[in-house]
Symmetry: C2
Subunit: 429 residues, 2 copies
């Protein structure tokens, strides 16, 4: 029995008409795999293997130490940052690619707290309880060290919670579970009105939705290199600071790469101007080169982030429609349907078997992932187990969407997710 | 004119008799190059390019997100740490490979300061003024944040400076300029006698000299992956904590990889037990795989670190002898001649033209490096400009030593270092 009402030919027609359809050939995706986990680990661009091999064999192997200058290894964080800048509404020279998102969040949150500390009664760092946990963990550490309080609320409570006690509003732009997207401009404005600074984690939005940090007057931002940027597993993250803070911020991980003159080897730290101060130690060059290769694809893209967003919305709209057809109410959509309220992944919940269902789909070659609920959370949405499907408009096709929905329907109808083998849990965001 | 008194045939004979001579074939060194900068960036092992390509093309490209488990990406920091442990006198499970040396130093220094803070009047972090600057910069930041004072002395003053005011003794085991090696056991003992904790930066000793962290009763250690470990440019660093501190330390970069259950996604940070707590964010896997490939060579080595040390001393003894012959007093040795007092690089100073001299040698295919002096340092040794030659016993040969000394003599006699083209400065440690 097949309850599908939308035929595959419709999806094929959409793929033929897709102005970004040829971009899929930029990627080395396994034949037959429907990969809907690019929000966790982006796919391998075809150009990357060759770029990495060149760096390893030629730049490192043959030119050795000379490559710090000759191959531009030194400038990699800034050069990669300049590729990221236009994708997030920042300008050249304002972004550096380095370290991990967690470490970068530590730098910017510390910087923001120190700005606020100067003579104010603002002692609260405000975030969502269901924010990606590492952000909360880093905030807990900094709050404990510097006498602040981490206040966690659910998203509907945010507007009211932004009061005069708040020193820093720290949010992830697109929620890693629900796919819900905050109104960055409105929340930043509310934060500023309350005298707070706004830090945005772009892990699930950079490269997926147009971000306008300057337009939103954001203060600080961090984000991830290995999701929609396709930089490879554990690729360096990035950090941005609004230039208006250039003379007032300082970050605590004051390593030599952030020094104004690292090769003067002076015993006293003198920070570089601007975002260069966010560098700390030597960066992993091989992983950085892979990230650069991934980002250069965005620079080649006709239509830029706006074109990607249009396709992302079309893919996810179709997915929602087809999953509705296939699941007939057995799955409930967690992600908002409204375009302005969501990023590029779609999340469902179901009464039972969410984890096993994702495993059954993986066995069929449809790769999504599962996130358990936070059972002790006061807000219902946070307690829901989540089946999560990410759509990377650079390489996902309308046929991917159709195939995924088809398999979801089949797994539901066959009940194969009940099979005992679909257990043993592990996952990465 | 050739004042050389030791013939090339002597070096050739030493190479033929070298039990580690075949190890050079493990590396892809450019033909004819005399590479004496492995203390800055280690050479490329032949196996590494293939390992990296496999990770990029197969693990990432084909298996995608599954590789976090299937290819052991998650466990990479611990697995690589276990390869490092026997080289530094640590035990399996006590070392993780992650982040940069600077970031790791921040973690351990913070941990040590927090241990000391509990009710003590110890407010001093003691180090060398000429310690590698990033270590001092990180210490400055932590001292300023937590009310400690960074006290910097020269090495002869260290024993007397280790008094009851000292909370933490923070030293680099082998000095990046002079090549001088501290007596880790004696200084750690002195620190403990004064109630201080001892942190050792092994950047210029790990993989170069046998290190015995447990034998020295050290408290914390960090080190570098891209020097003698041949892990590639910016390879992850490592961190070790003495298990006796396992229940008393905490580090501030409390990211999700250091959580006891990272995939429970709970909002509260609960640190993993032991050194696992030193992990923070997602690690750069491609760079990590290169580091693992470099370290696996050490595991194959008959005789281990002791065999490497014997060759390192033989290479550097010969170098000192031949440079004496060639320079006839025009260069002064900065590195101590005594074996127990030095690591695996040899440093000279000369009255003029040190930087240009190194450039002239590089033009001849002899790669060493130059470090300017700290002109305002009170201790004379710290003010000296340094010509630095690193000997990596895994791949440097006695013929390398002979060729290097020969070129040094020729550059001195021809005066070609005076040529204007040997200017424009840049360098990496």
């Amino acid at each position: 029995m097949n309850t599908h009402t939308t035929p595959l030919t419709d999806a094929q027609q959409l793929d033929r008409a897709d102005p970004l359809g040829l971009c899929r050939d930029w990627f080395d995706l396994p034949q037959g795999l429907v990969y809907l986990d690019g929000n966790s680990l982006g796919a391998l661009p075809r150009c990357t293997a060759q770029r990495v091999a060149h760096t390893v064999q030629h730049e490192w192997g043959q030119n050795l130490i000379k490559s710090w200058n000759a191959a531009g290894w030194f400038d990699a964080p800034q050069r990669i940052g300049d590729l990221i800048a236009p994708l997030i509404g920042a300008r050249a020279g304002e972004v550096v690619a380095c370290d991990s998102t967690s470490v970068n969040l530590y730098k910017v949150l510390h910087a923001a707290l120190m700005q606020q500390k100067a003579g104010s009664q603002k002692r609260v760092v405000l975030s969502e309880r269901s924010n990606f946990p590492t952000d909360l963990y880093m905030a807990q550490s900094l709050c404990a060290q510097h006498g602040f309080e981490l206040k966690l609320v659910s998203w509907p409570e945010l507007p009211r919670a932004i009061d005069q006690s708040v020193a820093v509003l720290m949010l992830t732009h697109v929620h890693y579970r629900s796919g819900r997207m905050h109104d960055m401009a409105a929340l930043t404005q509310a934060a500023h009105a309350a005298g707070a600074l706004a830090i945005w984690d772009l892990a699930h939005s950079a490269g997926a939705v147009p971000v306008d940090l300057h337009g939103a007057h954001a203060d600080y931002a961090v984000g991830c290199g290995y999701k929609y940027f396709n930089g490879g597993p554990g690729a360096p993250a990035f950090v941005w600071v609004n230039p208006k803070h250039a003379n007032s911020f300082s970050q605590p991980l004051s390593g030599w790469w952030g020094h104004a003159q690292p090769f003067a080897f002076t015993p006293d730290y003198k920070p570089a101007s601007g975002v260069g101060q966010y560098l700390c130690g030597t960066q992993p060059i091989v992983s950085s080169v892979a990230l650069q290769a991934g980002l250069e694809l965005f620079a080649q893209l006709a239509g830029g982030m706006q074109a990607l967003r249009e396709k992302s919305l079309a893919l996810t709209d179709l997915f929602m429609q087809l999953v509705d057809e296939q699941t007939q109410g057995a799955w409930q959509l967690v992600t908002p349907r409204e375009h302005t309220l969501r990023g590029s992944h779609v999340s469902y919940t179901c009464a039972e078997g969410g984890y096993a269902f994702v495993q059954a789909l993986i066995a069929r070659g449809v790769i999504g992932d599962f996130r358990a609920g936070d059972e002790s959370a006061p807000f219902e949405e946070d307690r829901l187990p989540i089946l999560r499907f990410g759509f990377a408009p650079l390489y996902n096709s309308y046929c991917d969407v159709w195939q995924a929905a088809q398999h979801i329907g089949e797994v539901l109808r066959t009940g194969e997710w009940r099979c005992a083998k679909y257990q043993v849990q592990s996952a990465v965001t």
